[in-house]
Symmetry: C2
């Protein structure tokens, strides 16, 4: 783009401003982004923000469900990799950030009652109760960054789509009211890069880890890879191998299925941005 060709207020100029603003935003650190979110100045998805830093899925449940859900996560660490759990009533993280407030620092919240989405909110201080237990779970953004660094293509990113997600026939290990099948994401990988993709993601056990399945989708109950249950279909090029990773939608689906009287999650894509680097989450 030739800057001299731009006239103020033409579409080209506005685009340039937009690119500039986005570039600036990408330079902000997690603390600065969380401050924007807290002030109500960012309510959009968080993909691409604070590159290098781990983002987390949010699940808030009343205390009476907390032991069973914690145990569900312990029993199913691949779909439910816990990054941090806060005691009843606590809304400040200790590990993922020293100055975050779970009530305000997520761009958009989904409020579910008895498993049904009631509304979305930008701030949940008005709903907060002393018996709320907060769970923050790892997300595949972290390992995708590592895969991209190794020149392993991410088709959904190339095609500017949501990652395709499928409900499998693999049952999670149940705990109390929490039960259901594992949900997986699909990434088509060139055959000469499959081993590398396993090696790289295996290091990231706190963000889903190594693949659940490599190859024939029907073996895990997926009938049609071009019809995902959630997200968008992506192109699988000739010879590419479908590789499936456990997905953070699993715990959300399991919680919805359990129909607790109240559950608060992040709105999909609108994640909690932590101060922990993805590299700090790699196995040690």
């Amino acid at each position: 783009m030739n800057l001299y060709s731009l006239t103020p207020l033409t579409p080209g100029f506005l685009d340039a401003i937009k690119v500039f603003k986005m570039k600036t935003l990408q330079l902000l650190n997690p603390k600065e982004i969380r401050a924007l979110i807290r002030k109500g100045k960012w309510a959009k998805p968080t993909a691409g923000l604070a590159m290098g830093y781990a983002q987390a899925n949010l699940v808030i449940l009343p205390q009476k469900y907390a032991f069973d859900f914690l145990l569900f996560c312990q029993r199913n660490p691949k779909p439910c990799p816990l990054l941090e759990v806060l005691e009843p009533g606590r809304f400040r993280t200790e590990f993922l950030s020293k100055d975050a407030d779970i009530q305000t620092d997520i761009p958009r919240y989904n409020i579910y009652r008895k498993g049904k989405l009631e509304k979305t909110m930008r701030d949940i201080r008005s709903l907060w109760k002393e018996d709320f237990v907060t769970f923050l779970l790892g997300c595949s953004f972290s390992f995708e960054e590592a895969l991209l660094r190794a020149k392993i293509p991410m088709r959904h990113i190339e095609q500017n789509k949501n990652v395709p997600m499928f409900i499998t026939n693999i049952p999670c290990k149940p705990s109390g009211v929490f039960r259901g099948p594992m949900v997986v994401t699909l990434r088509p990988i060139p055959p000469d890069k499959v081993t590398r993709a396993v090696q790289i993601t295996a290091r990231y056990t706190s963000v889903h880890g190594a693949p659940i399945h490599i190859g024939d989708p029907s073996k895990i109950g997926i009938k049609n890879v071009s019809k995902p249950d959630f997200g968008d279909p992506v192109t699988i090029k000739k010879g590419e191998v479908p590789v499936f990773w456990a997905c953070g939608v699993t715990p959300q689906a399991v919680v919805m299925n359990a129909k607790p009287e109240l559950c608060i999650t992040h709105t999909p894509g609108h994640m909690f941005i932590s101060d922990v680097l993805n590299e700090e989450l790699a196995s040690y």
Copy 2:
């Protein structure tokens, strides 16, 4: 030993019988050993039994402590690697074995009241309550086997001693009433094998994983490596590097410190023998 030289009931003959019985015992599989234990025919330490199979530490707590202790383990996975947690009242494992009974299948139990050892028992069926929550945690036997396979010497095994254990100045992340310093084990490693020892144990995240510290003991608050807080001192040969791993005594110390009205553990060394191979616990 020349068998023809043995006369019945001489010390040599009795020793041969003893060795034969021990050899036979070592050939028994976990299910057979648990059956012996259940019938009251084995109440001794389990080191060396069912080689290749994972052994587990036991902690049983009343339900009111269960969430906080589960969260303590989630926050401190290196000293407290959870292998399986049973719901309140359940005494049958699902993952570590399909036919084990936690009330009877451990050679010896310690019964603690308000943090004090009241007695040891061979069977806890008479104490069992519907609100008991059972935690089974990984133990370093699993990774020691892998280290020995790689010809990394285990000094305490060579010297037929208990592994030396030290209370460090590293605080565990607290949860509810559970708090305290991390306890570590010491293994002196030849300098050319330290990297290999890190690599090997790093694979075993569910049994304490990679070392907590390598080298200068004073950096983690250990004043004198020849005076362990628990276990026995071992020889550190000239040039050997002291390497420290998180120890399963940590959760026990933390629970004793919290003084719950009742806590049941295995008697040290008298572990639960699972049907899961150590290799199955290696990171995947």
